[in-house]
C-alpha cells in the first residue's frame, strides 16, 4: 500500500515506513537510546531527501522522548534544574546548527555535512563503546573485579559560575553544562538526532552526574531541543513531514515495547557491545558512500529539496 508524503513529495510503501519505525523502535527500546542516529540514515537510504529526513526525525524524537521521560519522572529520576540549564545551551545550539545547515544548503553541501557528521560522531562513539564493553566482557570472563575508573570531571569543578544541582548531587560550574547542551543542540539540528548517545556519556564522564538521573534528565532536555529543531526546520527549510513522522512513531511505539522486553534478557555490557556494532555498521556504510566512486558524477536538484 503506497502513501504520498506531502512534504517529501514522493509515494512510499506504508509498511516499509511502519517497519522502519518498528525496527528502530525495537532497538531503541532494547538499548534505551532515541534511535535518531539509525532512523535518519535509513530514511535517506530509502529515498527520502536528506533535509526532510533530518527535519522529520527531529519531530519523531519529540514523541519518543516524551513517552520515555514520563516513566523516569514518575520514579523521580529527572534533574529538572540540570535539564533546564542543558536545554538553554541546547536551544542556542540548535539555532546555530540551523544557521550552518541553511548556509551549506545554499552551497549544495548539506548532504556532505550530514554524512561527515555521522561518520565522525558514530565512529568515535561506536569505537569508544565497543572498547569499553569489550573490556568489561573480557574482565567478566577472566573473573577480574571491574575497577571503578576515576571520573574525569575536574574541569566542571575548576571553572567559575558554580551552581548546585541537588538531584545530581553536584556543585559544579554551569559553563561545561551549557557547552555540552550547545554541542548536542547543534548536532540535533544538523543530524536529526536527539543526541542521547553523546549526552549520556558526557553527563557521566565530564559532569560526573549520578547515573540514576542521567537518562531521565537527558530525555527531558531532548524533548525541548528536538522541539526547537522541529520548529526551526519547519520555518527555515519547510522539511518537516508530519505524515511521515506519524507513521514512523506509530511503528516506533510498538517496536519499543517489544525491544524493552528483549533488552531485559541481555546483560548490560552485551547490550552495549551490540549497540556499538550497529553504530559502527552505519558509520562504515556512510563512510563508504563518501569515498566510493559514485555511479553518477552529477548531482541534480530542482531547488525544492536538498
Amino acid at each position: 500500500m503506497q502513501i504520498y508524503l506531502p512534504i517529501a513529495e514522493l509515494s512510499i510503501n506504508v509498511f516499509l515506513i511502519l517497519g522502519l519505525g518498528a525496527g528502530v523502535g525495537f532497538l531503541s527500546g532494547m538499548f534505551g537510546v532515541g534511535g535518531g542516529f539509525l532512523m535518519t540514515p535509513l530514511l535517506i537510504f530509502s529515498g527520502v531527501p536528506p533535509a526532510v529526513a533530518v527535519g522529520t526525525e527531529a519531530n519523531q524524537i519529540v514523541a519518543s522522548s516524551v513517552s520515555g521521560v514520563l516513566a523516569h519522572w514518575k520514579r523521580g529520576n529527572v534533574d529538572f534544574k540540570m535539564g533546564f540549564m542543558l536545554l538553554i545551551g541546547g536551544v542556542l545550539g540548535s539555532v546555530f546548527g540551523m544557521f550552518v545547515f541553511k548556509y551549506l544548503r545554499t552551497l549544495g553541501q548539506v548532504d556532505l555535512l550530514i554524512s561527515l557528521s555521522y561518520v565522525l560522531f558514530l565512529g568515535v562513539v561506536g569505537s569508544l563503546m565497543l572498547w569499553e564493553s569489550g573490556q568489561a566482557l573480557w574482565r567478566k570472563k577472566q573473573g577480574v573485579e571491574p575497577k571503578r575508573g576515576r571520573r574525569h570531571h575536574d574541569l566542571a569543578h575548576r571553572l567559575p559560575l558554580k551552581m548546585r544541582f541537588r538531584k545530581s548531587r553536584l556543585y559544579i560550574s554551569v559553563i561545561p553544562v551549557l557547552g555540552i547542551g550547545f554541542l548536542v543542540g547543534t548536532l540535533a539540528a544538523i543530524m536529526g538526532v536527539g543526541g542521547g548517545f553523546i549526552m549520556v556519556p558526557a553527563m557521566i564522564y565530564i559532569l560526573g552526574m549520578a547515573t540514576s538521573v542521567v537518562i531521565g534528565t537527558s530525555l527531558f532536555q531532548i524533548i525541548f531541543v528536538t522541539a526547537s529543531v522541529t520548529i526551526l526546520h519547519a520555518t527555515n527549510t519547510q522539511t518537516v513531514d508530519i505524515v511521515l513522522a506519524l507513521l514512523l512513531l506509530a511503528g516506533g511505539v510498538i517496536g519499543a515495547q517489544f525491544g524493552a522486553r528483549a533488552g531485559l534478557k541481555l546483560k548490560g555490557e552485551q547490550l552495549r557491545a551490540l549497540l556499538a556494532l550497529i553504530v559502527l555498521a552505519v558509520c562504515v556504510k556512510l563512510g563508504y558512500d563518501l569515498v566510493a566512486t559514485p555511479d553518477r558524477f552529477y548531482t541534480v536538484s530542482t531547488l525544492v529539496h536538498l
Binding site: P6, I7, G108, T230, A234, T235, Q238, Y298, T299
Partner: protein, 254 residues
C-alpha cells in the same frame, strides 16, 4: 461520463466528409491530475480525430501524430562531483533557469522518420531539442555535458519520456495514446500539443492544458507548511508530544 465527449469524434469518423478541411481535434480523458494521499502515478488517455484526413488511405502519404507534454518550468541546479581528499564532494553549481519538470513525447513511429531534424529543432520537439539556458557562463563543451546529465537524471526519475510507438489508430481517422504521470510528478500546468504530420510537413496542431495539483489533506498540509510554517512546526511538536504521552499511557504496565 467523459467518454460521452468522444461521440462527436465518432460521428465525425463515420459520417461522409462534407467540409474541405476539417481540423485536427483532440481530447483528454481528464484535464486534471489530483495528487491525493493514495496517489501513485496516473495515466491519462488522449483521443483525437484527424478530421477529413485518413491514416490508411492508399492514395495518400501516411499521416503521423506527435504528442508533446511539457510540464511547468523550474530552475535547476547541477553540481559536478569532485574528489577532495578522497571524499566525493559537489563542486560549484551551475543553474539552469527553465528546465521543464516533466517532458514527454509520444509518436506513432520514430521521430526522425516523421519530420526533418531542422524542423524538430526549430519547434523544440524532443528532449534533445529543448532550449536550456544557464545562468552562469560555461563553455559549450561543459554545457553539453551538463545538459546530458540533466536529461539523464530526469529520464531516470521517469519525468522525461520518449515513446515512439505509443500512438495507435483504431480507425482511419481516430487515434489514441496515453500519457503517464509518475508519482514524483511536479505540480503545475502541463501544455499538451498534438501535431499532425504528413510527408514531413506539419498540417495541423491542437493545444490543451492538464493541471496537476495536490488535493484534499495533501494540499492542506502542504500549504500549511509553506504559508504558516511556524504554526505548522508548533502543531507538529504538539501532535508528537500528545502521541508520545498516549503511547506511554497505552502501554503502561502495572
Amino acid at each position: 461520463m467523459r467518454w460521452l465527449t468522444l461521440i462527436p469524434f465518432l460521428l465525425m469518423a463515420f459520417s461522409p466528409s462534407t467540409m474541405a478541411q476539417e481540423p485536427l481535434a483532440t481530447d483528454l480523458s481528464e484535464d486534471a491530475v489530483a495528487i491525493t494521499s493514495d496517489f501513485n502515478g496516473k495515466d491519462l488517455l488522449l483521443f483525437g480525430s484527424t478530421g477529413d484526413r485518413r491514416f490508411g488511405a492508399e492514395s495518400a502519404e501516411p499521416l503521423d501524430v506527435v504528442i508533446v507534454v511539457h510540464g511547468p518550468e523550474v530552475p535547476m541546479k547541477i553540481w559536478r562531483k569532485e574528489r577532495v581528499a578522497g571524499v566525493w564532494v559537489n563542486s560549484q553549481p551551475v543553474t539552469f533557469e527553465n528546465v521543464p519538470g516533466y517532458y514527454a513525447v509520444a509518436t506513432n513511429r520514430a521521430l526522425s522518420d516523421i519530420a526533418a531534424e531542422d524542423y524538430l529543432r526549430r519547434e523544440n520537439i524532443g528532449a534533445d531539442n529543448l532550449v536550456l539556458v544557464s545562468v552562469e557562463d560555461v563553455s559549450l563543451d561543459e554545457k553539453t555535458e551538463l545538459r546530458e546529465a540533466i536529461l539523464g537524471n530526469r529520464g531516470e526519475a521517469g519525468l522525461y519520456q520518449l515513446h515512439e510507438d505509443a500512438v495507435s489508430f483504431p480507425d482511419g481517422r481516430l487515434f489514441r495514446s496515453s500519457i503517464h504521470f509518475p508519482s514524483n510528478v511536479p505540480v503545475g500546468d502541463y501544455r499538451v500539443i498534438v501535431r499532425l504530420f504528413q510527408n514531413g510537413m506539419e498540417l495541423d496542431r491542437s493545444y490543451s492544458v492538464v493541471t496537476v495539483g495536490k488535493q484534499g489533506l495533501e494540499q492542506q498540509i502542504f500549504s500549511l507548511a509553506q504559508d504558516y510554517s511556524f504554526f505548522y512546526g508548533l502543531g507538529s511538536v504538539i501532535i508528537a508530544m500528545l502521541a508520545g504521552w498516549l503511547a506511554s499511557v497505552a502501554f503502561r504496565r502495572n
